[in-house]
């Protein structure tokens, strides 16, 4: 059968905006110029933090084909991905094609492939998770996807219209989003115990992975200032009132407004030495390691100090912020529940999570893979890629071993979540991460919705944007892993 009856062009058109999400395509790769339909937005390009030409595809492809040692299958994969229109998120992430590949595999496995939850549930959970951080970009995107599935569209009117079963997820959603260390086996029990609205363990694991994934993704979106996709706001029906044009630009406007007039204010004369100083410190640390026999007690205090200090690292002026009534709010239950520091002064702190007692590689993986097959491998791959990604570059310097810096970033995030590695000297964090960077890290991981362009610009002045995106990737993965570890540990406790 060579001839194949095909469809109405209009029908195709309707799905074209979604073209990027489809794997199976045999269209030729044609790189696409950007910026034809950006009129609505104040700043153009995929990110409001990063100049458009940094992300532009030419750059990307050039990088992809010239400097990256990619195997053929990767190139094929990317070809397929980008034969259509890419969304902004992918374009920004595309600065790191290696990672992007791992990310997309996982992303689409979670949302599209075989799994315990029906498709519309998955998107709804994505909406719920992204709404916790008021990330309208992701919410709009998944509202649209949800609509295309074409069932239960009244759920989009708000949480009270969706089934009780989904509403039961609210509790762990908010805990995982803001204070994951509070999750206990009782929460799991409440969801799983037999009854009309109960969850099976497999479904729950799927939901938890989705929640963690989208919380972390929200961090990335805010952290690198990803602009909303123009097409997403153009659909009719429910989405329109969720994402009116003004609303869709919310994060952009908000972010750009907040630092008007000081677009490049932070070029201090001494920033030139900043990079050198950092390199110097890294070198010194490496040497010191050999003879640094810090006592246990000191190591412990160092961790505690980092933990405590992370308290002080607060972006000022947000203390009692009232959440603005946004259309996203309809997907949020108990909006006042927000981030609270893990270590609070003068209170009973929850016990520190000992990383060696429940690691991703040994325990988390086994559990998650058992209940939701194959996702373990994909997540494993994603974590590994993010952690091992390096170009041996630091700003203008080449051939630098950045593993120490990467590990500091990763562990600092875990530290804020109360996860401690016995074999890590938290003094390094203090040496390597300057205060501005810490402010940025804390904001992006704990309350990403408050990230501003000023924060993004205030650290590492000489570094490339792609390197800052790299930082964001690390933060995102560290955060996701932390959430997953807490959630999976609770599930393990429930099971034993």
């Amino acid at each position: 059968m060579i001839y194949n009856i095909k469809t109405h062009i209009n029908f195709i058109g309707l799905y074209c905006q979604n073209v990027f999400f489809i794997f199976m395509t045999n269209v030729l790769l044609v790189p696409q110029e950007k910026g034809m339909k950006m009129s609505r937005h104040i700043s153009t390009g995929p990110s409001s933090f990063i100049p458009e030409n940094e992300v532009i595809l030419n750059f990307f492809f050039q990088r992809l084909f010239s400097s990256m040692p990619l195997n053929d299958s990767t190139v094929m994969f990317l070809d397929e991905e980008f034969s259509g229109r890419m969304d902004n998120l992918t374009q920004v992430m595309g600065l790191h094609p290696h990672y992007l590949q791992a990310f997309l595999r996982c992303h689409y496995y979670l949302l599209r492939m075989d799994g315990p939850l029906p498709l519309h549930y998955r998107h709804y959970i994505a909406i719920m998770a992204a709404a916790r951080h008021q990330c309208s970009t992701l919410v709009c995107q998944h509202v649209q996807e949800f609509e295309q599935i074409g069932v239960c569209s009244d759920w989009l009117r708000g949480l009270e219209f969706c089934p009780q079963r989904l509403r039961n997820l609210n509790e762990i959603n908010k805990i995982l989003a803001h204070r994951p260390w509070l999750i206990t086996k009782q929460h799991i029990q409440a969801l799983v115990k037999t009854g009309e609205h109960s969850w099976s363990l497999a479904e729950l694991v799927h939901a938890v992975v989705l929640l963690a994934h989208f919380h972390a993704l929200a961090s990335f979106v805010f952290g690198s200032g990803v602009n909303p996709d123009p097409e997403v706001t153009e659909v009719n029906g429910v989405t329109d009132d969720i994402c009116p044009p003004a609303m869709a630009g919310l994060c952009t406007c908000h972010l750009t407004n907040s630092n008007q007039g000081n677009r490049n204010p932070l070029r201090n004369p001494d920033t030139g030495s900043e990079l050198e100083a950092l390199m110097e410190r890294m070198k010194r640390l490496l040497e010191e390691r050999e003879d640094d026999d810090a006592s246990e007690e000191e190591m412990f205090t160092r961790f505690e100090k980092e933990k405590k200090e992370s308290l002080l690292v607060v972006s000022a002026g947000f203390d009692e912020e009232v959440v603005p009534p946004s259309p996203v709010a309809r997907f949020v239950d108990d909006p006042s529940f927000g981030y609270q520091d893990f270590a609070r002064h003068g209170e009973d702190n929850p016990p520190t999570f000992k990383a060696q007692d429940y690691t991703w590689e040994d325990h988390g993986f086994s559990l998650v893979n058992r209940l939701y097959s194959d996702i373990g491998h994909l997540l494993d791959d994603k974590f590994r890629t993010a952690c091992d990604l390096t170009y041996y570059n630091m700003a203008s310097h080449e051939g630098v071993d950045t593993s120490m810096l990467r590990r500091a970033l990763f562990n600092y995030v875990h530290c804020m979540y109360g996860i401690r590695y016995d074999d890590y000297d938290y003094g390094e964090v203090n040496q390597l991460l300057e205060r501005n960077l810490k402010v940025y890290i804390k904001t992006v991981t704990c309350y990403p919705e408050r990230t501003t362009r000023r924060m993004y610009e205030s650290y590492w002045h000489q570094f490339r944007h792609s390197e800052k995106v790299h930082v964001n990737l690390l933060l995102m993965e560290a955060r996701m892993q932390a959430e997953l570890l807490y959630a999976l540990r609770a599930i393990t406790h429930y099971m034993t």
């Binding site: 060579i2 095909k6 062009i9 195709i12 073209v19 034809m36 259509g84 229109r85 060696q356 016995d422």
Partner: protein, 779 residues
């Protein structure tokens, strides 16, 4: 030291003691009298007494214990009984000497590793040699007389999970890695490993050399496998593989038993298994005492196979006696039975059972060896197993269903293809489907359809009056069913009597009905009795013939030769039980189910209740029965019927059945249809379904990417005009107009156009209308 008598002096029982904290690892001293338990918050030595554990020493001293006490692993020196080594989570390797006079027994501290140390291992014969493997990807060899390591082995920044000195080869050790590799090293050559092979996908958590066989190494990984490798040959060879149910945390060969090894798992599963590697499917023995994951296992003595010690996250330390272990094989079912998709049946059992003489005479037994249906027979003999195993050889028979017999799933395909689910008035749909079912020799389904029509059609519906059978019996079915439901219980006694009467006195058409029911009523199906209204005279006669000739061996119904099918396929004609009890066929039918109504009832009721009820009952009235019927069908495995009825009845019944059940039925039916590659039918079902979750199945993978035919770029916007070259993208190759509507194109040359134009064109020409020279084909 009484070296020779040692083994015999070990005695004890299964016992345990509570620890203060979860254990991470345990190790015994050489003479098997003491055990050390190490964990994050515990480091103690227990003495093994006849009837319990006795705490001997707490090594965790100091006001604020340092992280050096937080142990990931511990090992007792096998030569020097005062020496212990631990691997700390902060990267330290600590030597302890119990002979030290002060409370703090720490003798030496090596802080060369930068990350957690996962494993320490003493050399089995060299007193002063200690090996460690760490998360930072290095293995280090320490000389206990020196302050620092003597050599470092690099695993190329892959985390080391386990290191083990070979017991037989003085210079060799094995290391297992997080990426699935296992490396063999020569202790004298730190620059490069001797051999490397990939043992598992994902981390290899543990490895253990065989105590006797020089080249054997057992490895366990996150991929839930235990593998035994033979290193003695030039190529490393996997000789045994055991599949467990959870990732394998530890593996230990059992002393004195060449093929046995013990495993425990990292997550979820709390048991300790002892496997015979030659029989990898079922554990040889299981210890089920622990309530949380087991973290450390060790055989108490290296020459005694009967005592196993284990520590666990549930803060207990156990001594297991082998005689107290449970033997899963005792509870295992030695027979297996499985159906194939097309009605084939495989059956495996002990050979002795299989060769039993087929003298039982039962129709089913005929198919055992010697029967003509037996297709291939495989004799599957296990290789010689030690004296501990019973010699078992099993035979596997595969029975093939005859082509075209009703045993296969042909009926399913036929039914699926010929049922009409929509597009006609309700009455006609039912009528059609009833005919289909009857043609396929499925009278029960056929009757069900007829009955549904009767129940839910308007009484004035002409299709109702067209049924001559109804007229024959002179009774309005509506009244029948109603009265039957109401009175069946009360009348069940009388029924029997009536029944007998009927049997003896009625000779004619009525009796035919009766007999017919008698043949098939043993299914106990409430709706079934309405069959009398639908069956043709021919049918009735033939059935009657069957019944009367019950003693005769030949049957026309093919499924009889295969009674095994009965439970699985819901075939309505089940004459066998009837034949066995030809005297009282109805008793079982009407007694087993109170809702089971026999046609006799209806006859008995004619006189009583014919005029008592209005013939215009609301269709709603039947919903509970129909619902029950649907559930019955679904439970019998005939989800096809349930779904078809559901669709045909539509709103009449939908509200009665909860959404989840409906969804479940739909899913199962669609799945079945797709397995039989009945794509069209499955799509129709999806389209006609009313469940949201089902309908959205049709929304997946519906996107098609197209390129503009002019500029060859992807079309990204809606409409017909490419936004780059501003030309119409999809032009008909025949008429050169824009195609709005059905567009057909050749997959070979990607030209195409209006469906009718292309069809027309290809009638006359073989070549592509666009003139590209491609030989297009339209099928």
């Amino acid at each position: 030291m009484e070296k020779l008598t040692r083994v015999s002096t070990i005695s004890g029982r299964t016992m345990f003691c509570h620890l203060d904290a979860p254990a991470n690892a345990i190790s015994v001293c050489r003479d098997a009298t003491q055990v050390v338990v190490a964990g994050r918050n515990i480091f103690k030595i227990y003495g093994l007494e006849e009837d319990g554990f006795v705490e001997r020493l707490n090594l965790r001293v100091g006001r604020k214990p340092s992280l050096n006490f937080s142990c990931a692993d511990v090992m007792w020196h096998q030569m020097e009984e005062n020496l212990l080594a631990t691997a700390a989570t902060n990267g330290a390797v600590v030597m302890w000497n119990l002979a030290r006079p002060c409370r703090n027994k720490q003798e030496q501290l090596f802080t060369e590793h930068k990350r957690t140390v996962n494993k320490v291992c003493f050399h089995p014969t060299e007193v002063n040699m200690l090996l460690s493997g760490s998360q930072d990807g290095f293995m280090k060899c320490f000389d206990l007389r020196k302050k620092e390591s003597v050599s470092t082995f690099s695993g190329q920044s892959e985390s080391v999970r386990d290191v083990q000195f070979s017991i037989k080869d003085y210079f060799t050790f094995a290391a297992s890695f997080e990426n699935g590799n296992v490396q063999l090293w020569d202790i004298r050559r730190p620059d490069r490993y001797e051999r490397m092979f990939t043992a598992h996908t994902g981390p290899v958590f543990c490895c253990d050399w065989h105590p006797e066989d020089r080249g054997w190494l057992a490895t366990g990984g996150r991929d839930k496998m235990v593998k035994v490798w033979d290193m003695s040959t030039s190529r490393v060879k996997e000789i045994y593989c055991v599949q467990t149910i959870a990732s394998v945390a530890r593996v230990k060969w059992r002393p004195e038993r060449r093929y046995h090894l013990a495993t425990c798992s990292m997550m979820v599963d709390h048991n300790i298994y002892v496997w015979d590697v030659r029989r990898p499917f079922i554990p040889f023995a299981t210890f089920e005492e622990h309530k949380d994951v087991t973290t450390g296992i060790v055989w108490r003595h290296q020459h005694d196979p009967y005592y196993l010690l284990s520590g666990s996250k549930d803060s207990t330390l156990y001594q297991h006696m082998f005689k107290d272990a449970s033997r899963p094989v005792d509870r295992a079912n030695p027979e297996g039975l499985c159906f194939g998709l097309f009605g084939d049946l495989a059956f495996a059992a002990k050979e002795s059972l299989m060769s039993a003489p087929p003298s039982v005479g039962d129709v089913g037994r005929k198919t055992y060896p010697g029967g003509d249906r037996r297709y291939p027979i495989f004799f599957f003999k296990k290789p010689d197993v030690t004296e501990q195993f019973e010699q078992v050889s099993s035979a596997l028979s595969v029975f093939e269903s005859e082509a075209g017999s009703s045993v296969g799933m042909d009926w399913f395909i036929n039914t699926a293809q010929s049922y009409l689910l929509s597009g006609k008035p309700f009455g006609e749909l039912c009528e059609h489907n009833a005919q289909v079912a009857k043609r396929l020799n499925r009278p029960q389904e056929s009757t069900t359809w007829t009955m549904l029509r009767i129940m839910f059609s308007e009484p004035a519906n002409p299709s109702l009056s067209s049924n001559h059978n109804l007229n024959k019996s002179g009774n309005l079915p509506l009244v029948n069913s109603f009265s039957m439901k109401e009175m069946s219980a009360a009348l069940s006694e009388r029924n029997k009597e009536n029944r007998q009467d009927n049997l003896h006195s009625l000779e004619t058409n009525l009796n035919n009905n009766d007999e017919n029911e008698e043949t098939e009523g043993s299914e106990g199906q409430a709706e079934y009795l309405f069959g009398d209204a639908e069956l043709d005279d021919d049918d009735l006669y033939s059935m009657e013939h069957d019944n009367q000739a019950a003693e005769e061996p030949e049957y026309l119904l093919p499924q009889e030769a295969f009674p095994l099918r009965h439970e699985i396929i819901d075939h309505p004609s089940a004459p066998e039980p009837v034949q066995e009890r030809p005297e009282s066929p109805h008793v079982s039918g009407s007694e087993t189910e109170s809702t089971c109504l026999t046609s006799t009832e209806s006859f008995s009721l004619i006189s009583v209740s014919q005029l008592l009820f209005s013939p215009h009952l609301p269709p709603k009235f039947f919903c509970p029965i129909v619902k029950e019927m649907l559930c019955y069908y679904a439970e019998q495995g005939d989800v096809q019927m349930a779904v078809s009825v559901l669709i045909v009845l539509g709103d009449r019944i939908r509200k009665e059945i909860d959404e989840l059940t409906q969804e479940h039925w739909y899913m199962s039916y669609i799945d079945l249809l797709q397995r039989f590659e009945l794509w069209n039918v499955s799509n129709e079902v999806i389209k006609l379904s009313t469940c949201g979750a089902i309908m959205c199945l049709n929304q997946t993978s519906t996107t098609l990417h197209i390129n503009c035919s002019n500029c060859k770029r992807p079309m990204s916007n809606k409409g017909w005009i490419c936004d780059r070259c501003h030309q119409c993208a999809s032009v008909c190759a025949v008429c050169h107009h824009v195609v709005k509507g059905l567009f057909v194109w050749c997959q070979g040359c990607s030209h195409g156009g209006h469906l009718e134009h292309v069809m027309e064109w290809l009638k006359h020409s073989k070549h592509c209308p666009a003139g590209c020279g491609h030989l297009c084909e339209y099928t």
